[in-house]
Amino acid sequence: MRLFGLFMLIFIMWIMILVVSYFLIFIIGPLHINVFYNSTDRLISSIIKASLAIGLVVVLILLLGTLKTKYLQKTLKRN
């Protein structure tokens, strides 16, 4: 089937979105970071969490980039 590869690519993207959502909710969300053991900890904790979340999204984008390059090169070479 001609579109099978693209279905798989979209499906993998969807799975990646679910995995990133899972990490953000269950791993990064509940993280508690204590540095100074005072009120500034909440701010620092939020900044670290936000950075981790953004980092995770960047990793997702890089993975997708690699995935599409491999798919395109493989399909063009085969045909």
Partner: protein
């Protein structure tokens, strides 16, 4: 101030605004086509034998239909979110119309579309939670920054998929269905009512935009569609569901960006991702420097006609919409405590 609507009110208002949007756009578009042809505001459709001239843009008629329906809806339900969605849509239309009249540099549309996000933030139509399938994340400050990204990204995403006859309108019609279900489940019925003029307006315009196109949307039309879709997903707490439904289009703009490595107008790209054969079928470029686009991926297995490509893009949109429905089911199950991890 917002009223709590009864199911009968919702049905009546829904039918009313859908019908108004549909009828205005359906009956006004032929006049716009005549006017644009008379004024010579046409562009060449390179994918067809004889390279016919097609009038452009259809954005103004889409805007009129949607604005009239949304203003009427505002007086019926008095929800201020309608004003923010409407302002976002109008600003996006203006940005696109400027680009329709005068070719602007590649950075113009994404940068100017940040302005379109401002009404949602100022009026405060957004929530502080981002629905992440398994739960909601409380990110009040980060969410505002996110809105400033979502509107330009989605606007340009729909703009970048509008490469063949009827693709942008057809794509929006398909992907609006899971979005409207999601805003009803996770937002409220007011947002559903706000989305109906976009859905039915797109259905009306599709009659003229589908293959062979009698009118092209132009940037004013595509940015309007994309920005309104994005603003509905924001005010309806359905950002991730909206994104999942749009995955083929997101993939297209992401593929383009990651291969070109900068924001440029399609016209500025030197190596074309696809070329036209003598029989007007399209073939993927083997040139490594050509941008990777969704159409190039579809054509990677061999040449296809324009109509065959359009059908395949719609099949991909249906597939991503099914994934969006599955995501709605998962999110709803977690929300109701039927599943827990």
């Amino acid at each position: 101030m917002t009223y709590l609507l009864s199911p009968l009110d919702i049905a009546f208002y829904g039918i009313l605004v859908s019908a108004i949007s549909f009828l205005i756009i359906f009956f006004m578009t032929p006049y716009l086509i005549k006017y644009l042809n008379k004024k010579g505001r046409v562009v060449v459709d390179y994918h067809k034998p004889g390279k016919p001239n097609v009038p452009r843009p259809a954005g103004p008629v889409l805007l009129i239909g949607i604005v009239i329906s949304e203003i009427l809806l505002y007086f019926l339900i008095l929800d201020v979110k309608i004003i923010s969605v409407l302002l976002t849509t109008i600003i996006a239309f203006i940005v696109g119309y400027i680009d329709d009249m005068k070719t602007m540099p590649g950075w113009f549309k994404p940068a100017a579309l940040i302005l379109a996000a401002v009404p949602i933030i100022i009026i405060g139509s957004h929530g502080n939670y981002l629905g992440l399938i398994f739960d909601n994340a409380f990110i009040p400050i980060l969410y505002i920054l996110l809105i400033l990204f979502i509107i330009p990204i989605v606007g340009n995403t729909i703009n970048s998929i509008d490469v063949f006859n009827g693709v942008a309108t057809g794509f929006i019609i398909i992907t609006m269905i899971p979005l409207l279900v999601s805003v009803t489940v996770f937002g409220n019925t007011n947002v559903l009512l706000m989305g109906l003029p976009l859905l039915f307006g797109s259905i009306a315009l599709y009659q003229y935009h589908k293959f062979p196109s009698k009118i092209f949307l132009g940037d004013s039309g595509t940015l309007l569609l994309g920005s309104m879709y994005a603003s509905l997903s924001i005010v309806g707490n359905s950002e991730i569901i909206g994104l999942i439904a749009l995955l083929p289009a997101v993939m297209n703009s992401f593929l383009f960006l990651s291969s070109v490595k900068k924001i440029v107008e399609h016209r500025e790209v030197k190596t074309r991702p696809v070329t036209i054969c003598s029989d007007f079928r399209l073939v993927a470029s083997k040139d490594k420097s050509a941008p990777a686009t969704l159409v190039r991926l579809i054509l990677a297995k061999g040449p296809l006609s324009e109509q065959e490509i359009i059908v395949r893009i719609f099949i991909l949109a249906i597939f991503s919409s099914i994934l969006a429905f599955i995501s709605i089911a998962i999110q709803y199950s977690f929300m109701m405590g039927k599943i827990s991890l």
